[in-house]
């Protein structure tokens, strides 16, 4: 790929400096462990009663460290999708909306390579954030428990993989952003997909629906729904990365009327 190293260098700098990254990084890295610890503490405090208590029931029993890391995975599986989706909307639609994308024509580094590098930088950033969030959640769980058991480590590992899968599932929104040329429309599509995912899960198709897989796999739909997610479902979710990369690069290669 012509100039991928150059494009990665340029895109990494641009993303490091961007306001979206500066806001999203602390939110993603800190919100996940804080929410996980908070959910478990709230469930075990007895302060919530009625329908709220029923919702929090899965977090009220069992090993606290393991439960916190399960909760971290569940929060991360949604937060990583939303954060990376917002990032894709900003990174791909905004330059098309304000005309900056036109400057990427006629460069020695082809615009499709720049777009590919932008996807890879977003993916790397999301992966680093997911790793940071899980690491903090592990630390927050390990310190009061004086160490973690095998089950807790497994929950932490699953949280990380779910976060990576969710971040990868956001890459196709780079294609949506390129097609719509509108950050707002891209965010609308992202919210729409989240809503559709809820409906698919309600009718029992979640184990096969890529956008439902990370959440269900971390136990958000209960143990039965988690065990229904098999390797095929996980692979389908992971396929969003190569598909997203290929479509975005193709779109930017064919881009016109900018």
């Amino acid at each position: 790929m012509t100039g991928l190293g150059t494009a990665l260098r340029a895109e990494t700098l641009a993303w490091r400096r961007s306001a979206v990254q500066r806001i999203a990084t602390p939110l993603l890295v800190l919100l996940v462990p804080v929410a996980a610890v908070g959910l478990v503490a709230l469930a075990r405090s007895g302060a919530v009663v009625g329908a709220g208590a029923a919702k929090l029931a899965p977090y009220a029993t069992g090993d606290a460290a393991t439960t916190q890391l399960v909760a971290a995975g569940q929060v991360l599986s949604v937060a990583a999708l939303l954060a990376t989706g917002f990032a894709a909307a900003a990174a791909f639609a905004q330059p098309l909306a304000d005309g900056r994308a036109g400057a990427y024509f006629g460069l020695a580094t082809p615009r499709s390579t720049v777009a590919l590098a932008r996807c890879l930088v977003l993916l790397g950033w999301a992966a680093a954030c997911a790793a940071g969030a899980v690491l903090l959640a592990v630390a927050a769980s390990a310190v009061p428990s004086a160490g973690l058991g095998a089950e807790a480590w497994a929950a932490g590992g699953r949280a990380l993989v779910a976060g990576l899968l969710a971040a990868g599932l956001a890459l196709p929104f780079g294609a949506v952003a390129t097609a719509t040329r509108s950050p707002l429309a891209t965010v609308g599509a992202l919210i729409g997909v989240v809503a559709v995912t809820q409906m698919v899960v309600l009718v029992g198709g979640g184990a096969w629906f890529p956008y439902a897989v990370p959440s269900l796999w971390t136990g958000m739909g209960g143990p039965a729904a988690a065990s229904a997610v098999g390797p095929v479902g996980l692979l389908l979710a992971a396929a969003a990365v190569p598909v997203g990369l290929a479509v975005v690069a193709w779109q930017w290669r064919r881009l016109t009327d900018v």
Partner: protein, 244 residues
Amino acid sequence: MTVLALHDLRHRFGDRTALAGLSVAVGPGEVVALVGLNGAGKTTALRVMTGRLRPAGGTARVLGADPATLGPTAARRFGHVVGAALVSPDLTVTENVRTAALLHGVPRADVATAGSAVVQRLDLEPWAHARARTLSAGNAQRLGVACAVVHGPSALVLDEPTSALDPRGVVLVRELVRSLADAGAGVLVSSHHLDEVARVADRVVVVHGGRDVGELAPGPEMERRFFARVLEADTDVPAPGGVA
């Protein structure tokens, strides 16, 4: 050899004709200015010239290649600012010119030198570490030009490059364009400032209704001759191509 060429360009946006057979050619060492009223088709032509718009008819060539699919070899010798420049608002002036140099194919070892030279050339040193989003419109425009020429292009396209500049900035950009042309580059520039194009251009092409309606010899009374040419085109009196 022609550095930049548009031949018989035709394009419509819905019911509106934007280009109706426009042809322009720029040779090495030549500065050609497109002048015309708002909506005449200048910017649309320059978007085609930079590959950003595929025309319904006609051809565009940059250093002999189709700008929409320009290969790295030709692209290394091409620079342009049409609308928004290759500038990220979150990066500093220095970071922007260095990033532009990298993307334009300047070898990594030469990027810092090339960046410093163009920052100095366009008198942007006081803002070298300022983020682009904090610059005034004039300084931002100079930064855009800097990012387009940091690699020393031999084909350059500039759309209204002095529209936001103060008199000193106008002189800086004019001298830059002239020096690039003197070094052998072909430059296609659009402008509304007839006095300015009279100073910098070797040839001035009048664009009206999406086509070239003749040339103006750079010199005195440009404004009067420009309006006369536009009026002639509207009344379809002379055939296009003559020099007024």
